[in-house]
């Protein structure tokens, strides 16, 4: 059996160089995890887990007072995933939920004074992490980097559209 494998590996040896390159997707995953870990290292001491602080952060950036649906879409997670996080944040006293007057199906999420206070503490930590991680990288390099990311994203979306069609 081992010899079968060996034979196959030898057979596809012209591909081997490209096989080595295939780590790009893995590197992407690793980098994302590293960034998240670095941010968590600063923010977990404040009593917030990753899903909680990202939800608070996003809520601020959305301008507060948005429906759970809007928040979930912005975080790119599903509503049931957000539910649990919002329950926790509500228990911690950082957010409130109330019924929407205009659409009685919806519930509006807003920051409490404690939540705003927590965000102030978070803000400097998050900026610090960003500065640390982007040290030594020029604005031009950053722009190029983001452009490549955009292009790969577009390719991925196009591929997914095509395969689902």
């Amino acid at each position: 059996m081992l010899s079968t494998l060996t034979k196959w590996v030898l057979l596809m040896s012209p591909e081997l160089e490209r096989l080595k390159e295939l780590s790009l997707a893995e590197n992407l995953g690793r980098l994302h995890r590293l960034w998240r870990t670095a941010a968590d290292a600063e923010l977990i001491p404040l009593g917030l887990t990753h899903p909680r602080w990202t939800a608070l952060w996003k809520l601020l950036r959305l301008g507060d007072n948005v429906s759970q649906k809007v928040l979930a879409d912005a975080l790119e997670i599903e509503l049931p995933s957000l539910m649990r996080t919002l329950n926790q944040l509500e228990d911690q006293g950082y957010v409130q939920r109330r019924c929407c007057e205009k659409d009685k199906r919806a519930r509006i999420v807003s920051l409490t004074p404690d939540g705003i206070e927590m965000l102030k503490q978070m803000e400097s930590k998050i900026m610090l992490v960003r500065r640390n991680l982007l040290a030594g990288i020029s604005q031009q390099q950053l722009n190029d980097f983001e452009n490549i990311m955009s292009q790969i994203s577009e390719n991925a979306l196009a591929t997914l559209d095509k395969s689902s069609a």
Copy 2:
């Protein structure tokens, strides 16, 4: 309470432009998820979930016949996480585990003939996804992209070392 928030947002308005930029970490996460989704779309029809096919793929690249510990490290997951996946792959008949002669604590994982057959099917699919996602991106751009990723990774590792020390 809303006015408190408004005041604070106004107060930190010099930061607002930088706040908008903060999406880089999120874009990284989104891109990783997209890549994974595109790959899964090709591979799940073969009966393999994401953790399973990545484990098989990594096992091949490690040259087969490695300990669970080595495989877990290479996949950058913990042993208990790998355990479950290997149990599934063993149930599916794609891998085997046997005791290591030299170190009786360890168990060696190897591909079965069925596993090798499955990998052959996987290989073309994975290449296809890569080609699709990197369409229109030059080798030079790709090199630059990977260099920036490396630099951010190094910065992150340095930051984490410093904070844990």
